[in-house]
Symmetry: C2
DNA sequence: CGGATGAATGATTGTCGTTCTCAGTATGGC
DNA sequence: GCCATACTGAGAACGACAATCATTCATCCG
């Protein structure tokens, strides 16, 4: 059975305190600097669990690092992400969902899934 | 100045002979098995160059490996990729382009870019 | 409340894709 | 042909992440 540990809760909370996407290593060093004794492997495990439970979204940075973000559970959505500060806006777009299904079907593909992310410079970062 | 070597040409040709996305390591072992003495680092460098020259598209697999594919140059497009065999179809979708721009603008984001990939099981792999 | 069970932890080691190093090679301009 | 130097490639280094395993502690049960 799944046990409740302060480590899992610490990762969940740290994730919620971040506006944008963060890596396991970033979360770990942040927690350590705040005095926690949590281990890196535990942060990885907690993030993987949160991801598969639908409580966190993930994406890969250009450098191949996996980034996580607390996620409104239950609803399928995508993200608009600031390349400079990481500010992230959740996006719903039924039109894109339908388009992805249609494209797959038109080419004889079944069990379609898709990756859709929009990047840019947020208003604040654009002003700088 | 950029020099022309048989190694670069070998990578370009090997990439063109592949239907779907392939990794640097896959290309390297394929070339080696065909008798080439090309080095792994050179394959990585050639692929990076082809990518920045717009002659190859790249994406990251779920495992974080970077995959490359010869690309019809000049035109912006996306990909429909078979999760099983790697068969890839190039897709153009002005509607999605427009949507991405609109979403960014609506949220005050400038200089928008986007990542759009559709995955599925191709007709042949669906039958198996 | 104990005491037993085994899931969870974390320091460490291992893995693997990718990049770096650097001595040797070979391309392109002269 | 000669030279400057871009390029190559074997191997070492790097970095994110997974696996290991002795230890800890959350949960269950009496
Ligand atoms: Mn979607
Ligand atoms: Mn596009
Ligand atoms: Zn920003
Ligand atoms: Zn297929």
């Amino acid at each position: 059975m799944r046990r409740n540990t302060w480590q899992r809760e610490a990762v969940r909370e740290a994730l919620g305190n971040n506006e944008g996407f963060v890596s396991a290593q970033m979360l770990h060093s942040g927690l350590r600097e705040a005095g926690s004794s949590i281990g890196l492997a535990t942060v990885y495990r907690a993030l993987a669990d949160l991801g598969s439970a639908g409580e966190a979204d993930s994406l890969q940075s250009d450098q191949g690092e996996v980034l996580y973000r607390a996620c409104t559970p239950g609803q399928h959505h995508h993200h608009l992400i600031c390349r400079s500060c990481g500010l992230t806006v959740e996006i719903e777009a039924d039109a894109v969902e339908a388009w992805a299904h249609q494209v797959a079907a038109d080419n004889g593909f079944t069990q379609p899934s898709h990756v859709v992310d929009v990047f840019g410079m947020c208003a604040k970062c654009s002003a700088d």
